[in-house]
């Protein structure tokens, strides 16, 4: 897997490159701003790019903008945005702007190589990745009329994993149950929440996040 890393802080950039190389990922370039990322992506056609959400010049949401530009310039490139922001609004903005092949991870994950590499693998395979902390935050929101109140503990687990972007198969593997069990849970959850079921994992993520944020 060929990857470009875009991160403006030298230490972090070197760290990410080192960890990914250790994990057997081929880091073809490491850049420090959005323009360089775009240039190198167009030149090297990597499988995925990892981009920090805060980059020069304004250190706010350059990463999200850069993600869109990368996808416009070289369609099919998977993008993982690393963010300090807990707000689901940023994740939704990323997800709503792209069909799939995108991931939104909190920056702390950078140094859990397994999580980062797993996310890279999933987005290059076309999945959608949402950081579990963000999903937990949304799921934990206090509500006057909580649509999640009717769900069983198991159904909540399944819903949270679906919101993180996992496919039914992946959820089954994670929970040590069969695919059919997951499908049954999923049908039940969607019926209780009043959502139309869709086999498309990306759409499922969006639907769940939108429902939980309403």
């Amino acid at each position: 897997m060929r990857v470009i890393v875009a991160e403006d802080v030298l230490l972090t950039r070197e760290g990410i490159v080192h960890l990914l190389s250790e994990a057997g990922v081929d880091v073809v370039a490491a850049v420090e701003d959005a323009d360089a990322l775009l240039r190198e992506t167009a030149r090297l056609h990597p499988d995925a790019v990892i981009v920090d959400i805060r980059m020069p010049p304004s250190h706010t949401d350059e990463g999200l903008v850069a993600a869109s530009r990368v996808r416009d310039a070289v369609p099919g490139t998977a993008v993982v945005v690393l963010s300090q922001y807990l707000e689901p609004a940023y994740a939704l903005r990323l997800l709503e702007g792209h069909e799939d092949h995108v991931g939104y991870l909190l920056k702390d994950r950078v140094f859990h190589p397994a999580v980062l590499v797993d996310a890279l693998r999933r987005v290059t395979e076309g999945e959608t990745v949402v950081d579990p902390t963000i999903v937990a935050r949304i799921m934990g929101r206090k509500r006057a009329h909580d649509p999640l109140a009717d769900l069983s503990v198991r159904e909540r687990e399944v819903l949270a994993l679906a919101a993180e972007g996992l496919s039914n198969k992946a959820i089954a593997a994670r929970l040590f149950v069969t695919d059919r069990t997951v499908e049954a849970h999923m049908a039940s959850v969607f019926a209780k929440l009043g959502l139309a079921e869709t086999p498309d994992a990306h759409r499922r993520v969006l639907a769940v996040l939108a429902l939980l944020r309403a």
Binding site: V9, L11, T12, G15, H18, L19, R54, H59, T60, D61, Q84, Y85, L86, E87, P88, A89, Y90, R93, L106, K107, D108, V110, F111, R137, I138, G140, R141, K142, R143, A144, D146, R213
Partner: protein, 602 residues
Amino acid sequence: MTGEASALRTTTAPGIVATLVAGAALLVAAGSAVDVLTPGPAPVHIDGAATAAGSVAPLLLVAALTLVVAGVAAWTGRPGSGLALIAFGGAAALLAAILVGSAAVSREVRTLGLLLAPFAFPLLIHLPVRALRADRGLARFVFAGLYLATAVTATGHLVTWDPYLVADCAPMCHPDDNVLALHVDIPLSLGLRSAGWWLAVAGGAGLAAWATWRWTSRSRTGWADPTDRMVLLGALASGLAMVAWSWARLRTSEFGLDDPWASRTTGLLAGSVAILGAGVAWMRFRETGRAGAVRGLVDLLDGGAGSRSLAQTLAAILDDPTVRIGYPLEGDGCVDDQGAPVATPIAATGRAVTPIERGGTVIALVEHAADLDPDLLSREVGAAARLAVDNERLAALLRAQVRELQASRERIVAAGDAARGRLERDLHDGAQQRLLAISYELRLAQAAAHDERPDRRAAIDASVTEIDAALAELRELAHGIWPAVLAEAGLEAALGSLADEASIPVTLEAVPEERFPARTEAAAYLAVTEALRRATAGGAPGLAVRAQQVDDRLMVEVRAPGLVAPGPWLRVDDRVGAAGGRSVVTVDAAAGTLLSVELPCA
């Protein structure tokens, strides 16, 4: 009181002189009217220097009469004004020119006509310049020189002139026509006459050039008064006519008197002067009307609620849409009637500034077109009107102070927000990045430590756990200091995030996705966070937020059922007030607390 003042002015010396001149002009006008209108022997050409009366005499009479009207207009506006004297003098000179060629009057009158007629040129040149108040500074000397040169050539010509001895005059002149022929010297006399004509050529050309320059330079400043335009047009025509008239006569002295251009140019001159006189009359009558309006200013200003400001009123009654008023601040600078800072009025090209004083203090600076009578405002604005203007000034200064306070309040809030935003960023980009780097180093150590003693491995593992916790805490802390999402994604995203982390249910019933000005978003966000804080502390079961844009206001309603703790909401009041909005809290034992916030959208 103003009536007494004008009565006093009437009795001043120039007033008496002007009265005499006006009377004389009217007498002469009456006499020549009789002469021109009564059928009798055809008028005789006596001297080309002053006139070619005859067929164009009625035109000259009309021109003289418009000058008399202009003089009367100037006189009624300001009795004894220099402009009135010039206009009456010009009329007298034109009528004198008619008399020169009249056989119906005595030779003494004809001689007087010969003496006076040449003064038509300096007076007619002076008239428009004076009317537009441009005869100041160096121009005064130019006009003094012009009058003096005319006096020298006219009297010199008269003293040395005997029409009977000149070939081209002999057929129709009488031997004793010139009663002032004290020292007859025909060559000298003809030379002086030519000198007078050349003077008129130069003066006429100068007048035409001045009128053209003034027209174009005033056009560039944007707004031009129609009466100015008419006077300038008359001045241009008169200047050119003077050149033509004098040029025709300079030629005539060589080619004989019956040159048709002699009478044609006289007609041209008479017509041009009529335009000029009418323009000056119009201008002065209008100024008199303005003065009356300014005198009645206090009635317009004291119109009660909805009455117009001084600037609007003056613009209307002076018919000058560019009128601007500045109320001087105690230090430097000026404000308008709304208390907004404006540039201190200055007399730029085509503009003039009149200070209005009260009790020795300048209470207002009025910037207006330079063509306005410079003394009009200081003269005609009465004591009662000054009181009204002073009231408007005090109100303007008060508004200026309120503005300044509001601005300083906004600055304080903005500075606080900026500091919090910087702190949040520093935490993210400084401390957090360093912690991440340490975390990375620790993980490398952790990976390399598999050979180490178990207690050391445990220490490293504990450090990794600690640093992860520190990172998580830091992230929450930075978020609490300043919600970056508010500035970047707007109110909807920020309130959504607030609802995510609230410990009681927050229902966002409606929040517009549009972006609003930063201070409006910040004030609305803070109002909701403050309500949430109180609701949480007061044990309210939940919070409902509804925000919507109504016209140019953002209306935010936060309902906290069950929250009945009264007390001032100072943070919200301060924040919303600084953003230029209003907030109202209503507490009801049954319905709980309702916080209503209204904020500007632009």
